[in-house]
């Protein structure tokens, strides 16, 4: 699914077909993350691995509304974003396995997925890192007079980075066509929002920089789609920076090292279980079933189709060669 084709299906507004596509996308994200974790444990994937389980609506409800020429920037928690932008599961899996056929040629890994042909300018391993970059991307769009937007994701922990505030100020000051999505999953590693800021009302921080801001229930795909649709339209038409604080929750540890033992230092199993009651994937599934738009048989068919997609991606990645040693010194500088 490219940005364009998904956008086309979004044009039918909140019709069943469109919601089914959203569901399929979220299901793919969830199953994909689960497969990555298995491959990580098999030693096929190295480095860090940050999963998006529980947060899917923030991407599945937003990125499909983009059009050609729009840009996406995000954090190291970037697998879902790449999938939604239309990067092939094969290229993502191969990147995670460090193969030449990966979307970054095997040089980036999990935190640095990238796919400029689909408008995806990449994940970023530095907390807050993509936010100053978004200013330049937004500026370039405005400079050229394009009717495009830059979508920039960052976390609640990143809100405490100095560079983020410099950037938000410029985005507000210059009136840049940027939509910020604050992925507020309540924690930055083991530090809760309450323990990391004297002002946990995130919208106030954006408004302080002259940016339109709204808080959204990030576990509700319909609310996410609605708010994102409006924010993207305003950024595109009025050329003003927008900020959506999306309240969500990560169902798994910060990264693989943040195991159940570590998580006990900052959250309880009860809290995790309570949030899982709001699993956006299950909520959307129940909604579709209630509307008669999805049967158990449909769901099973979708599951097996996705399973096949992922198995194909794994096979492709495992059979792909590693980057050749000569490529070590390639691309330190651009050609020309």
């Amino acid at each position: 699914m490219s940005i364009q084709s998904v956008a086309a299906s979004a044009a039918s507004d909140q019709g069943d077909a469109d919601l089914l596509a959203t569901y399929r996308l979220m299901l793919l994200m969830r199953r994909f993350e689960e497969s990555l974790y298995r491959k990580y444990r098999e030693g096929k994937i190295g480095g860090y691995l940050h999963r998006y389980d529980g947060q899917e609506a923030l991407v599945a409800g937003v990125i499909p509304q983009l059009i050609k020429g729009d840009y996406v920037l995000c954090t190291y928690r970037d697998h879902a974003h790449a999938i939604a932008c239309g990067t092939s599961p094969r290229a993502i899996m191969a990147e995670l396995m460090g193969k030449a056929t990966g979307c970054a040629g095997g040089k980036g890994g999990s935190m640095h997925l990238i796919d400029p042909a689909n408008g995806f300018l990449g994940g970023d391993g530095i907390v807050g890192g993509p936010v100053p970059v978004s200013v330049g991307v937004g500026f370039a769009i405005k400079y050229r007079g394009d009717k495009n937007v830059c979508l920039c994701y960052f976390g609640d922990g990143a809100m405490n980075q100095g560079g983020v505030h410099e950037a938000l100020n410029m985005a507000g000051l210059y009136g840049l066509p940027i939509v910020y999505i604050l992925e507020n999953n309540g924690y930055a590693m083991g530090t809760s929002v309450e323990r990391s800021t004297g002002q946990p009302e995130m919208v106030l921080k954006a408004q302080a920089h002259g940016i339109d801001a709204e808080t959204v229930d990030g576990m509700d795909i319909l609310a996410v789609r609605d708010a994102a649709g409006r924010a993207i339209a305003r950024a595109r038409e009025e050329v003003r920076a927008q900020f959506l604080e999306m309240r969500t929750y990560r169902f798994v540890g910060h990264g693989v090292a943040d195991n159940a033992q570590q998580q006990r230092f900052y959250r309880t199993e009860d809290e995790i279980a309570a949030w899982k009651e709001h699993d956006p994937l299950i909520k959307l599934r129940n909604l579709l079933v209630a509307h008669g738009a999805l049967t158990d048989a449909d769901d099973e068919a979708m599951e097996s189709e996705i399973r096949a997609t992922i198995e194909d991606a794994i096979r492709f990645a495992e059979e792909s060669p590693p980057p050749p040693l000569e490529s070590l010194y390639e691309h330190v500088y651009a050609e020309g």
């Binding site: 190295g46 480095g47 860090y48 990147e95 460090g98 193969k99 970054a104 095997g106 040089k107 980036g108 890994g109 935190m111 640095h112 970023d124 391993g125 530095i126 907390v127 807050g128 890192g129 922990g157 990143a158 405490n160 980075q161 100095g162 560079g163 930055a188 590693m189 083991g190 530090t191 323990r195 990391s196 800021t197 570590q262 230092f265 900052y266 590693p322 980057p323 040693l325 490529s327 070590l328 010194y329 330190v332």
Partner: protein
Amino acid sequence: MPLMRYSEALRLAMTEEMERDPTVFVCGEEVGQYQGTFRVTEGLLSRFGPMRVVDTPISEIAIAGLATGAAMAGLRPIAEFMTWSFALSAMDQLVNHAAKITYMSSGRVTCPAVFRGPAGTGNQLSAQHSQSLESWYAHTPGFKVVLPFTPADAKGLLKTAIRDNSPVIFMEHAGLYAQRGEVPDDPDFTVPFGRAEIRREGTDVTLVAYSLMVGKCLKAAEKLEASGVSCEVVDLRTLVPLDMETIIASVARTHRVVVVQEEWLNVGFAAEVAARLADEAFDELDAPIRRVGGADVPMPYARELEQAAIPGEDAIIAAVRSIVD
């Protein structure tokens, strides 16, 4: 002497100094309630309380500022960077403030702060998380720069760093945290700055290194010994101040030298050592000075490329062979 991990030795140094001096405190991301990203500060919060073990937001500029300002105002902060890669945004606080206030004030104000955390490459962490930047700090007048290799040095050097009246850049290596070694439990044990340590004696070639690379040199030296080449391994321990005396004394015995660093080769610390040897010990040298360092590329993710980018025993052995055969 008790056997302990490098990470435990660091913790012991902090614990002892916090017991000894009430002005010493620790701050940084996840140092308290989460017990430290690499468990270096485990247990400190419950022992010393939240005023002395301060969990911070992910705000490296303000972490550096917190330590710098508190030091200027009479405390002895130990600021932990989760890794040195994340300290990059704090460069201005570090270089323009912490490093310079003593000089700019003709010594009227000092900055007795320690900035510590893991540095180094490896584990497929790729370009933004896997790098060594010690030369950036060694290049900047005002910082003392410390990179311990053994658990005992980790403890003794950190204690010296905490007691020092200048800002100290203290770079641990994530790849060494789990290493065990004998560590003196005497609270008066410290290791002075500016004294290199000979980790292995040898007669044919001097290998100069610091941090994790000392271990690689020792392994290379073992292999070379088997083929009849005897290497002496000098562990610098501190880059600033630099113990040229020990290096030169060793080169005066071996007349051949290879300087090994993990960071990028271009404009790296080995170049400084090589230049000073050329200046100060030219007559002792029977062969060109060789340098071994990381490939001059941002660290690639793929395992095969990463291995080729990080200097290993083979590169050290090849460099030695190029000047003895």
